[in-house]
Amino acid sequence: MSTKTNHFPWNHLIGFVLSIALTLLAVFVAFNTDFSKTVIVWVIGILAIFQALIQLFMFMHVTEGKEGMINVVNMVYSIFLALVIVFGSIWVLTSGHAAMH
């Protein structure tokens, strides 16, 4: 990494093209395939995670700076929290008596 970065921003361009492609792919999977609904949600979910990673690494440069490692740990922990909050809440609130509605 140098102070002057005059080269063509390839990784931005690649990231952009990829994100458009992944979006279209998700739409295609959702509307033009006959997977079961669960499979569809899983597939488009994974595509979304890919896109998020592209933003994180290609656009936001998580790993750069003196605290690159700390940033990564921070993001991993936040994602862990997100999973706990989302899946935890769903599990707690839709199992048990709520399942009998």
Partner: protein, 328 residues
């Protein structure tokens, strides 16, 4: 330091009678009157033994160390050696709690699953189904098979499983009869389930534990376990003497008030089951508006007033037990 010693002695004196009184009385949670409550009490006593051991170990270590290593005028103001720690010790006081947690976890899980079902030994019997509807600030019990509804008291056959199907007409409450079993919440638009059995005839204290506004302190009820014959007689008597609940009367009951007991020879389930929505049409926020200060004291006066007021539609087989929290 003299002052402290005196104070301390004085306090100890003051404490003793209370501690003695505590040992004498039978704390309700340790006095189960049915199989569900009994399995909870067993679990509790099991856990208390572990906790006592832990507390004694910590207290003993604490007392010993603090006494032994206190600074003294004759210790030459020595400087203690630095200590890094000790792996073996640290492993020990990590492992023993792990084992304790496992030991507590096994019966806990067993009991959690157990109390979700009809109590052991009663699987063969068809449970009596009672719908519990909690409202501000009263309990409504519906017996769909008997076609009976009671307010603020509950009669059940003894030695027979009862299945409570519980819901709420508004705020969240918690249905608790500590001598018969653990509590569970009641919530509008939802149904929770609870199984209880009373070993033998008797009167048990029940109440709401989930705070729901002004009348909360008075939101208790009596559970009467009757022999099967007495229970049948009671059902018959209600059919003979009690009034019919009308929708109009029902919405009056649902208003936020503290009221006495009532009995009807039909159930509100005929027109609404709060487990499946529709409660909102009975709600009136205006009735919950508070004006500060010039509030007269909620409770007793109003309660007894209501009681006489609604006497016409009550059947009482028992002598009137207004507001009976007693359980000793």
């Amino acid at each position: 330091m003299k002052g402290f010693k005196k104070l301390f002695g004085w306090l100890v004196m003051l404490t003793i009678p209370f501690l003695l009184a505590g040992c004498e009385s039978n704390l309700i949670v340790f006095d189960p009157k049915g199989p569900v409550a009994r399995s909870l009490t067993d679990l509790i006593i099991f856990s208390i033994i572990f906790m006592l051991v832990i507390v004694i170990v910590v207290f003993a270590l604490f007392g010993y160390i603090v006494w032994k290593y206190r600074a003294r005028s004759d210790d030459g103001n020595f400087e203690p050696e630095e200590e890094k720690g000790n792996h073996l010790l640290e492993i020990i006081w990590f492992t023993i709690p792990v084992i304790i947690v496992i030991a507590l976890m096994i019966p806990t899980t067993k009991t959690i699953y157990e109390v979700e079902d009809v109590p052991q030994g009663y699987e063969e019997e068809e449970p009596l189904v009672i719908h519990v509807t909690s409202a501000d600030w009263k309990w409504i019990f519906s017996y769909p098979d008997q076609d009976i509804e009671t307010v603020n008291y509950l009669n059940i056959p003894a030695d027979h499983p009862v299945q409570f199907k519980m819901t709420s007409a508004g705020t969240m409450q918690s249905f608790w009869v500590p001598e018969l079993g653990g509590q569970k919440y009641t919530m509008a638009n939802m149904q929770t389930n609870l199984f209880l059995v009373a070993d033998r005839p008797g009167s048990y204290y029940g109440r709401n534990t989930s705070f729901n506004g002004k009348g909360y302190a008075h939101m208790d009820f009596e559970v009467q376990a009757l022999s099967q014959d007495d229970f049948n007689d009671w059902v018959q008597e209600v059919h003979d003497t009690a009034n019919t609940l009308t929708e109009e009367k029902y919405s009056e009951i649902l208003e936020p008030t503290v009221i006495g007991r009532m009995t009807f020879n039909n159930t509100h389930l005929e027109w609404i089951d709060h487990a499946h929505g529709g409660s909102e049409k009975y709600l009136n926020p205006e009735l919950y508006r508070i004006s500060h200060g010039h509030e007269d004291h909620e409770g007793h006066d109003e309660k007894s007033e209501e009681e006489t007021d609604s006497n016409e539609d009550q059947t009482k087989t028992e002598p009137s037990q207004s507001e009976d929290h007693a359980h000793h």
